[in-house]
Symmetry: D2
Subunit: 254 residues, 4 copies
């Protein structure tokens, strides 16, 4: 028979360790390439070493850490190509969801909810401000929109696949939104992204799956543009979750 | 400091539990919808309950099990749509890899290795037999081919993403190959699949990324045809890893 | 032996008739559905009836006229779906050209010429005016850009195919640009179109054919948006070549 | 008022000249690069020089002839790339039609008619013969199938666009079918083409437009394979309409 209590306790400790380590790493407390010490992590997070070990293994699978030689784990460093690829994979799976949402048919109710998100974003953009308050409102409505699009495909398999891919920082649809507060011309990119949002809903509503798929793929590439711009403006990177892990070319003397 | 010994021991126990449970489930020892008991699993696999718990959690994340109410885990049942979606996701990510392999350029050496796999498959098909011996040879060369195609993209991120998606049974490129020993006209499907293989290598070599992407997506759909055919021939399903988890429409009286 | 003189004279008369009739029709002198009289056309254009007949046949092949019952020709009327389809066909062939330009490789010289066109458009947009003078400058640079993109594919066959498809009014890449002087928010559409131009050049330069193809298809759909907007603003349609042939739903009491 | 009688007479003479010259050229009576003499053509076809001139101009527009210097026309020679491009353009427009047929929805009646064509082809292939009699039956059902697919899109604009593109020899869906009587392994290509036909109908019926589009594009490329094979087997080229116009690399000493 299953033993719920201990499972719950165990997994809550492991989950706490996972969240704690991920947070430390993404906040930049450990730099890319730095070795992680179990004892130190156990003390800082306040759990025993067993859940720390399980968490390290999990985060290695997620791709945030890598195995060190001869033993242990180091914080992974990401090249610009890694980020491009992560964004491309995310965009590809989201695009698949959008295509299936169009082909299988999406109810008016869901299309209406998607349009509500877009009305909120339109309202944010109408104020023509790109400060953190406006960007946070943008990011919230944007995240809901992307979640609705995913659900519209009606596929648990795809939803699960996307969640795994997005477990990497940088790959989420809103990863670079806040960084835009420090990027010149960010407002133009936001308007283009929002125009794509409107086109995506139109395409899904018109059952034009090929168009929906192509639009979503291209939409994801706005994150790549934001990344490029963030790399040019050092303070922008501070607003990207995990920004400290991005291997800057300058750092390597390249 | 990291403590390698205990990590290794722990994770080897957990890995053993994961492999053991996965094997029992995919061999059909537990049916779709059946509740799993920790104690029984611990005894059958010969590890303690702690690694069993970690393994169950891992397999739930993979999508092979699902959380039961109020506690514990049951074996997941898959509908035909689930399988279609899993195959589509796999095909979509493989197709992305093939496109990038074409666009970024693939060396003659790697193209040559891909062609060697195809020469092996050509040799198998020239004997015009679809018994298990020939299908096993086909499956082996096929798996190498798909791995080379993935590596040709030169992206650790994509490779990792695909591995996670393929952690589901049925989604692997060779999942249905052995079932073809029990499917009439299987030989024609193998020849079509092999013609696609040749076209894929040509497209990558010609840097025709859009064509490579479209071909690989369509290539994956041969698995869907095999699935449909396997569902019509009960004995074919015995040769699909995890075939017992596929929810047959007849089972539900639909 | 060929007889150049008479060919030249004949075809110059026919060409004059073609240009004359096309101009009369597109300027709205004859309405959609109106029957054309040979004698009247011959007088207005100043050529004999033989070249008029040849011209009418040619324009029927082009799709601007249609055969009347029992004889003769009437001016064709176009539905919104006809226009959508014409734009989609144009976008599809241009997209093919862009893909091949990316896959076959485009020289730095040509990429540089494309970027010069975009610099001109950037300069026009920097003045934030959408009057006819600015739109004419936009349209000129836009037409050069699209021509360069087509030539980059290096395919006489594709160039010829596109020319035939674009023989229909409305289908040309700049068909709706001038109408934007009467459309609110036209400036935003111009900026989005220009952002797509930049992305297209980037994709061709990076040999990313699939992306280039998808971008150009989507780019063409901006013409559909302009069409929709022009149909809402009667005076905008006056700036579309052949605007008088578009069958307005209101006209039919629908 | 229009004058039907003379139009009819004129155009019937011109049509006769067009058909006559096209036939002479495609039958190989004039070789690629050869200059055409009006007087000789007028005598052989039995019409006066005026319709011959109109026909030459028309065939130059179609792409079968080209303007000579200083005057007159020569028979165009086609490179393998020209043929590839013509096939690619044809496939691209047919693919657009298939996508729209899927997205806009195709009636069961039309899907049934498409399946009837496929049943005929299945019957032909079941006899496992690739002689001219079987290939002619294949070509007839194949042509009907492609026509039905085109009509399923319900777009006069697309139909017209395709007709113009296919005015070039080699570009038609059945251009290389008869040549297969002289090509080893032709039967395998026919089976693959037919498997694609079945997939195309399935995709249109399932409203899977992106898949239908990709399948039709790839389907057209079978013509490119047939072309390559025909170039290797000189006698096969005799069965391709206009085969004598294909510039063989050997001819140029390349």
């Amino acid at each position: 028979m299953a033993t719920p209590v201990s499972i719950t306790r165990d997994s809550s400790q492991t989950d706490r360790a996972i969240l704690g380590i991920r947070d430390l790493v993404l906040r930049g407390e450990f730099k890319g390439g730095e070795r992680l010490a179990e004892v130190e992590l156990a003390e800082r997070i306040g759990v025993s070493r067993t859940p720390i070990r399980a968490a390290l293994q999990k985060l290695e699978e997620e791709g945030l850490l890598e195995l060190a030689q001869p033993t242990g784990y180091i914080v992974r460093r990401f090249t610009e190509t890694d980020l491009d690829d992560a964004i491309e994979v995310r965009g590809t799976i989201e695009a698949l969801a959008a295509r299936l949402a169009a082909e299988r048919g999406t109810s008016r109710v869901v299309l209406g909810q998607m349009r509500e998100c877009l009305a909120e974003i339109d309202a944010v953009l109408a104020e023509k401000m790109v400060d953190l308050e406006h960007l946070n409102r943008y990011a919230a409505a944007n995240a809901r929109f992307h979640q609705l699009m995913l659900e519209a495909a009606g596929s648990e398999i795809i939803e699960r696949s996307l969640k795994r891919v997005v477990s990497l920082p940088f790959a989420s649809p809103s990863a670079f939104v806040l960084a835009q507060s420090k990027i010149p011309d960010a407002f133009d990119l936001l308007k283009i992204a929002q125009a794509q949002h409107h086109d995506i809903v139109d395409a899904i509503g018109a059952r034009a799956g090929a168009r929906a798929e192509a639009l979503v793929k291209e939409h994801a590439r706005i994150a790549r543009k934001n990344l490029e711009l963030a790399l040019l403006h050092a303070d922008a990177l501070d607003y990207v979750v995990g920004g400290s892990l991005i291997r800057r070319y300058a750092d390597d003397g390249r």
